[in-house]
Amino acid sequence: MTASNGMGTVHEFEALGAGMRVKLSGFVRLLRDNAFTIGLAETHDALKILGKGQAVRPTRLRAGLKTLFCSRQSDWEKFHELFDAYWLQHGMKSSTRISGSPQKAPAGIQALAKGPRGESKGQDPDHVERGEGSDTSEAGQTKREGASCTELLSQTDFRHITKSDDIAAAHALAERLSAKMRARLTRRMRAHRSGQRIDLRRTIHKSIAHGGTPLDLVFKRRKDKPLRLVVLLDASGSMNLYSAVFLRFMHGVLDSFREAEAFVFHTRLIHISPALKEKNAQRAMERMSILAQGSGGGTRIGESLATFNKWHAKRCITSRTCVMIVSDGYDTGSSEILGKEMQALRRRCKRIAWLNPMIGWRDYAPEAAGMQAALPFVDLFAPAHNLESLEALEPYLARI
């Protein structure tokens, strides 16, 4: 079919002219920068559409490329503007001006890239840092609702809780959690010696030798599915009393889950699963401290989530994943971005649990702007100020 044959058959489309092909590839690149999912097969089919003489009228071409390149409603809404900006602003004939680079796109596209949905696409990708990052000082930030903007994480020592009984408790809990969470009941069946239902197909296979008398019954039972868990931990100044405990907890979780990923965020997002895979807890904590060094205080939850959505979500989230965000919701970034990114995340995953240590405080109400923006998309909003409150999560997680 389209995907399997004719990849790279450039000659077929030579009639189209190099200018058109270059222009199209520039357009595809622009769309990819705007989070469209487009593979080689789609580009190939787009050339076919152009070859069918649809390029004579922009509206025809637009309708054709729209149905081919879009794959979700958000794409559908963005497409017109992107198309018009790319193909019409320059005029259809001036292919010389297009070098295919979205960076050189006119201001219209740049503005678009930030988009009505605010997904900050097309900006410089906020790559995940795995080593010591450069010092991004946030001196200009103003103080806002308790999120410390000046306190540097580099001073923070994750080895704060090395009290052996605390560690033991965290690990024991993580183990219990994992035992409960790993298995999720589904309706999918698999063959089993002692299931609840008879697997007729296999039973009949076996009964042929007995002349049709089903002597050996084969049963089937529900198949267990591993739970996928992604933990995003706020390690900003305002959380620093808690983050150490949670890192311990995450280490335990990653230990017992095959499909778990862990991230830490403050002003940017850091992927810490590799560090947490270290078996020795002490050494894992040391590697973590190194990873988190060199970043300013303050929290940019929205931007961190945007990074997550853009670079990691595809890989580590399926519709069965539970995302656990541990944060107090004090955001120094824009709460608008946070809301939008939460919405995007919500679409992708099964459940979002937001653990907020502040709930444990007396008279706390989730009034921080960030928290307000995020709450509509959260399935579970629970306290997480001590091990007890974590324990209270068990029944919820077991149901996932």
Binding site: M1, T2, A3, S4, T37, I38, G39, E42, D45, K48, I49, K52, G53, Q54, V56, T59, R60, A63, G64, K66, T67, L68, C70, S71, R72, Q73, D75, W76, T186, R187, R188, M189, L200, R201, I204, S207, I208, A209, G211, G212, P214, K314, T318, S319, R320, R347, R348
Partner: protein, 294 residues
Amino acid sequence: MSEANPPQDEIALQLTAVGYIPDRDLSTALWLMDSLQRPLLLEGEAGVGKTEVARALSQVHDTKLIRLQCYEGLDQSSALYEWNYQRQLLAIKAREGERAGDVEEEIFSEKYLLERPLLAAIRQPAAPVLLIDEVDRADEEFEAFLLELLSDFQVSIPELGTIEATTIPRVILTSNGTRELSDALRRRCLFHYVDFPEIDREARIIQSRLPGIDTALALEIATMVNSVRREELRKSPGVAESLDWAATIAGLNIRHLADEPEKVFDTLMCLIKTAEDKSRMTREVTDRLIGKVA
């Protein structure tokens, strides 16, 4: 370059002839679906007529419509094929004493195979329209399996061997967005977002379904339904509801909505589906909307 009658306009005309009024984007999508041989994914709110597209398409091509309704836990024995166990058991009994190998060959032959929608769709003499309805309700395993089927169009049955497609069906998938579909499936498909029709298109739909109706009245009804949709109700009325309502209005011999606000209010309730919406659509609200229409 055949400017005179481009293929997508041709399809639009054919669809109109069978009573489905498409917009330009949809007719382009349907045309590309044929020429690129890709499945088409339709997304949109409930009641915008996603399923209707498949029905109209099967009428245009004068082929069978094979429908697979998805649900959680849908597996290949209800989507693809299943053996007819009762008949197999009987056959085994009837052939008691024969060689086991022969019996096995007999009971795992075509005769004992039950076709389910997906297998049926690739074994038709003429390419059918395969409608995979609400694919978002099925789970990921099924989605992955579907992806494989949609690219290879062959099915392998362990006891029987590989069955190749005799014809490639036109595949339409619909989704209500209860679960995010995988990027792979989305990429594989052409995409069309089905929105509620604009006022004049809805008026044309009403006219094509209720040929006796007055043009002006159809337009009034379409405008009215359109403004009801803008009231941000919990359940916006779909096209099917507006057709029902139009039939009611026509049946009551109302010539203009503004003439009989009382009856309009009473009948409008058939568009409203929840108690909450009902309490919001008060007489004052409908009178205001009627005022705008007239």
